[in-house]
């Protein structure tokens, strides 16, 4: 508490003087209702939602590829949701995201001990296997990719999205 007090006083004093430092990538807590928030805030835009976890082997391979995909395609909203069972570790999740070039994506972290309910809100048939990718089209149509996604498949989906636009 004492350390916190000192830190906050320091922060308040320095706030006026110092320019805003670059903040580390934010991890939003994914709780009950967050899924609807994700859907609402990206409605009408092609969106890639990726569920992953720090203990998932195939995710370690796939994450950098998705980082590159995001870099190459600014027209797609990329939403990353760390969906290991709790305790989901923010430090480990952030480190993996940044290493994969996904620090600037919209990043969420499962933060509700009742993961069955979180998953049920997203897809009642999903039992938690990761990685898992949902491609959400402009019209809200969802394509689910179980397991590691192949980048050419993502490119193909994106091309279809662009074709619809024309």
């Amino acid at each position: 508490m004492k350390r916190c007090l000192l830190a906050v006083i320091f922060l308040l004093v320095s706030l006026a003087a110092a320019p805003a430092a670059e903040t580390p990538s934010e991890l939003k807590p994914f709780v009950r209702g967050s899924w609807q928030e994700v859907l609402r805030s990206h409605a009408g835009r092609p969106t890639l939602v990726h569920f992953w976890g720090v203990t998932c082997g195939p995710c370690k391979v796939e994450l950098p590829l998705l980082g590159q995909f995001m870099k190459d395609h600014s027209e797609v909203d990329v939403v990353m949701i760390s969906a290991d069972l709790v305790p989901n570790l923010p430090g480990a999740a952030r480190a993996m995201l940044e290493k994969a070039g996904l620090g600037s994506a919209e990043n969420w972290l499962f933060s509700d001990g009742f993961v069955e309910r979180l998953r049920f809100e997203i897809d009642p048939a999903w039992q938690g296997e990761i990685p898992r990718t949902l491609l959400i089209a402009r019209d809200g149509a969802v394509t689910t990719i179980e397991g590691s996604a192949e980048i050419p498949d993502l490119e193909k989906w994106l091309a279809q999205q662009k074709a619809v636009m024309r």
Binding site: L5, P29, V31, G113, G128
Partner: protein, 404 residues
């Protein structure tokens, strides 16, 4: 001065809010009801009955493995004893749980896994109590290998020796160095002739199995361990297989339980369950999301796993059935699994009195409104009980009716 004290007040109230927020967030986000080592704080609880009818539990709570016993079927417990002096970074994977076997002479053998590094590489540790659970020996790794090991299962053979099987990644790096593609991990095993104090050198039973699912384990008879596991068949198909050992040192053939055609490069975190009846029927339950079928299934084998019956679907597909478990007892076989209706989790049970050829209608036998451990079954040699840890309602041990 006034400014300074205003600043201090603001800082104090900010810190208060942050501390409260952190606390409530932590409680909410945890899968455990509390952070101490008590049973009520456990996220995973594993039961075992001793031959004298005493119920023993091993559980994960507060970063420790604790053990306690009950002589009144779970109504009251002995003072818990921790298996380690220090707090551990226990493997919290959905299918990880401590393993406990109780020997006829009262000795207790434990096995469980920890995360040994920041990359979540696991290590299987073992220990033994020779004084009826009053104290445990120093923890020992089950193998000298430093590669990741997880999902140990432990069984007690008829001659009193302990048999352990686990998922082990030691073959991964050598394969990659030779330029070979390596999927999954190896199924390894080892026996202990001294009640779980030391284990023989670990050996490979089968390579390229799924790396993130619990194993199903039972004995087909004295010296005949049987393991059911999520295998990786050709083309990355993660369907289930069974292996019957010729003896505790001799692995058998890999035989397919069913052709679900689940080709997936992912961690299902959802392993199978196996029980073998006195009449030698293999009962297997599992989860798949394959092309051929999706959901929970049951199948039986009369010929030691050479062939299996057509898979029988379990549970309501619209209620996300999960975590099936099967146990055969003297009065028949029982299966349980979880279902979720959007608010409530229920454990559903059904029973069979004809070696699994027909089953009773499923009945919900317990419910909870927050997160819960997998439902497990345990037998005292007479009845079969549901053993279920829940965050909201604590630990439960419920005798299951025969469904007739």
């Amino acid at each position: 001065m006034l400014r300074m004290s205003l600043l201090a007040t603001l800082a104090f109230s900010l810190c208060q809010t942050m501390a409260n927020a952190q606390m409530s967030h932590h409680q909410h986000a945890s899968e455990a009801a509390c952070e101490e080592v008590d049973l009520r704080c456990a996220s995973k609880v594993t039961p075992a009955f001793a031959s004298d009818g005493t119920l023993w539990l091993a559980w994960m709570a507060g970063g420790r493995i604790s053990v306690a016993s009950s002589k009144d079927q779970g109504r009251s417990f002995s003072t818990p004893v921790q298996a380690s002096k220090e707090k551990l970074n226990l493997d919290w994977g959905p299918d990880a749980r401590p393993q406990i076997v109780i020997e006829k002479n009262g000795g207790i053998a434990l096995a469980f896994s920890i995360f040994r590094d920041k990359a979540f590489n696991g290590q299987v540790l073992t220990t033994r109590s020779s004084d009826g659970g009053q104290s445990f020996a120093e923890l020992r790794p089950i193998t000298a290998s430093n590669d990741s090991q997880r999902f140990a299962t432990l069984g007690l053979d008829a001659d009193g020796s302990a048999f352990a099987a686990w998922i082990d990644k030691r073959n991964r790096v050598p394969a990659q160095q030779e330029g070979r593609k390596y999927e999954g991990a190896g199924l390894f095993f080892a026996s202990s002739k001294d009640g779980g104090t030391t284990y023989a050198e670990a050996r490979l039973a089968s390579d390229n199995t799924c790396e993130c699912c619990r194993l199903g384990f039972a004995f087909a008879g004295p010296g005949r361990p049987v393991v059911v596991f999520r295998n990786i068949f050709e083309g990355g198909v993660r369907d289930h297989a069974v292996m019957t050992f010729a003896d505790p040192a001799t692995p058998g053939e890999v035989r397919r339980v069913s052709n679900d055609e689940w080709q997936i490069s992912a961690c299902p975190h959802h392993g199978p369950s196996l029980s073998i009846s006195a009449a030698s029927t293999y009962h297997v339950t599992w989860y798949t999301n394959g092309k051929a079928r999706k959901g929970l299934f049951y199948a039986r084998s009369d010929d030691q796993g050479r062939t299996f019956s057509d898979p029988l679907p379990l549970g309501r597909a619209d209620r996300n059935p999960t975590r099936p478990y099967v146990l055969s007892g003297p009065h028949g076989a029982t299966m349980v699994w979880k279902e979720f209706d959007g608010e409530r989790t229920s454990v559903n049970a059904m029973t069979s009195h004809d070696e699994g050829k027909s089953w009773s209608k499923p009945v919900a036998i317990a419910t909870t409104t927050d997160t819960s451990d997998h439902p497990l079954l345990v037998s005292d040699g007479q009845k079969i009980y549901l053993s279920w840890m829940t965050k909201a309602d604590g630990y439960r041990l419920l005798p299951i009716g025969d469904g007739s």
